[in-house]
């Protein structure tokens, strides 16, 4: 399933709507990294609210997306991790230490606004 990537002023929002195969995840990564510079975005939000499971591959891919997006000059924030998913993840040792997380889309936007305020470019 293709993940739609929405452009919202300076940010890109990828909203995952259903379980993704490994290929889908890799495609999402490629599209996001490509589009970050195309739209000169300063932030990327990945919404995982609809996911009830996050396995190690998904976690690793999300982390790599964040790292790659950072290399392209933007911030990434993952939003909407469900309580059960969060608990399962830490039990598996998947902690996403160096990745920003936020409760939901609104929080994620607020986080990016704070982060990018100093850049001289207004977001959100």
């Amino acid at each position: 399933m293709l993940v739609p990537i929405l452009k919202q002023s300076n940010y890109l929002i990828a909203s995952i709507q259903s379980e993704l195969s490994d290929d889908d995840l890799l495609r999402l990564r490629e599209n996001l990294v490509r589009q970050v510079s195309k739209f000169r975005s300063t932030g990327v939000i990945i919404d995982v609210t609809a996911l009830d499971v996050m396995d190690s591959f998904a976690t690793r891919t999300l982390r790599s997306i964040a790292h790659m997006v950072r290399l392209r000059g933007a911030e990434t924030v993952i939003v909407g991790i469900q309580p059960e998913v969060a608990f399962a993840m830490v039990q598996l040792g998947l902690r996403l230490e160096d990745i920003a997380t936020a409760l939901d889309l609104e929080e994620g936007l607020a986080f990016l606004d704070r982060k990018t305020k100093g850049d001289g470019r207004r977001g959100g």
């Binding site: 939003v79 309580p83 059960e84 830490v90 997380t101 936020a102």
Partner: protein, 299 residues
């Protein structure tokens, strides 16, 4: 003539002997019961019981045992043991008292059999063959009833503790406090984490102050649970501030080598809430010192 008796004859003579034993115990009821009570008193097993209680209880137990021997059925003993266990445990009667008392009774019965059949070894051993399994069975029934009663109480208390569990309280918009009191085991830690994560979502919390002043000890497992809770909260976009780490717990954590570098810790709950306020962008201003006193109302 064949020495071997037929099966029927053996069981018949066994039944006869059983009847004889029952009659013997009934006949000697008062003597043996008094002996038993005396021996128990000498061992101090009757502490905390009134004379009246001793009389009625000892009679009931004595008769119950004899009935078990007579009928070779143990429902009566079972029911009595359960009842006694309920009462005994409630009244703080020790298991030693109960088991000790029954062991004494067993000896008293046994001794009386020895006295009666000391001339006839064969008959004595036949009598013991009948008597001993019954005595052992009764003892095991009572012991099991007591253990079961204890376990029941432990289960009840565990449930009570679980229900008391930990509240997650909102003190300000987007600020939760989680005061943990008492020992944390794996089950409770799991429950606590799930509860907190749900509260973070429903209250849209940004900061959680986790106060562990009331936690007496921490081992590596519990520390690990705390770290997991902090990590999981972070995945939900909330920052956790840990407060109330006692000197002992601080020493244990460092000695255990738990990686706490990613944890925000503040000395006490007050400091934790202040830190959370700063984090959320609140500033507490004292407006007027006269506001500290509550104005008295005229009656």
């Amino acid at each position: 003539m064949g020495q071997k008796k037929t099966k029927e004859e053996i069981s018949e003579s066994k039944e006869a002997l059983r009847k004889e034993l029952v009659e013997h115990f009934r006949e000697k009821r008062e003597v043996l019961r008094q002996q038993w009570v005396q021996q128990m008193t000498a061992k101090g097993l009757l502490a905390g019981l009134t004379q009246e209680e001793i009389e009625t209880e000892s009679m009931t137990i004595y008769d119950t045992c004899v009935v078990c021997l007579e009928t070779n059925r143990y429902e009566g003993a079972q029911a009595y043991a359960t009842r006694m266990a309920e009462r005994g445990v409630l009244r703080g009667m020790t298991t030693e008292q109960i088991i000790g008392g029954l062991l004494t009774l067993r000896d008293v019965y046994g001794r009386s059999l020895f006295e009666r059949y000391q001339q006839d070894m064969e008959r004595l051993s036949a009598a013991l063959d009948i008597y001993e399994p019954v005595a052992n069975k009764i003892l095991s029934i009572v012991a099991l009833a007591f253990v079961e009663e204890r376990e029941k109480i432990v289960r009840q208390q565990q449930e009570a503790i679980r229900e008391l569990s930990t509240p997650v309280l909102q003190v300000r918009d987007r600020l939760l406090i989680l005061p943990i009191i008492g020992v944390i085991d794996s089950l409770r830690a799991r429950q606590l984490t799930e509860q907190l994560l749900r509260a973070i979502r429903s209250n849209r919390a940004k900061v959680v102050v986790m106060d562990i002043t009331g936690v007496p000890t921490v081992d590596s497992k519990v520390a690990n649970h705390l770290v997991q809770t902090v990590d999981a909260s972070r995945l939900m976009g909330a920052t956790v501030v840990v407060t109330g780490v006692s000197p002992e717990i601080a020493q244990t954590l460092v000695t255990l080598g738990v990686d706490l570098s990613k944890m925000n810790t503040v000395g006490d709950l007050q400091g934790g809430i202040e830190a959370a306020d700063r984090f959320l962008g609140y500033r507490v201003i004292m407006e007027d010192t006269t506001g500290l006193t509550i104005p008295k109302q005229k009656v």
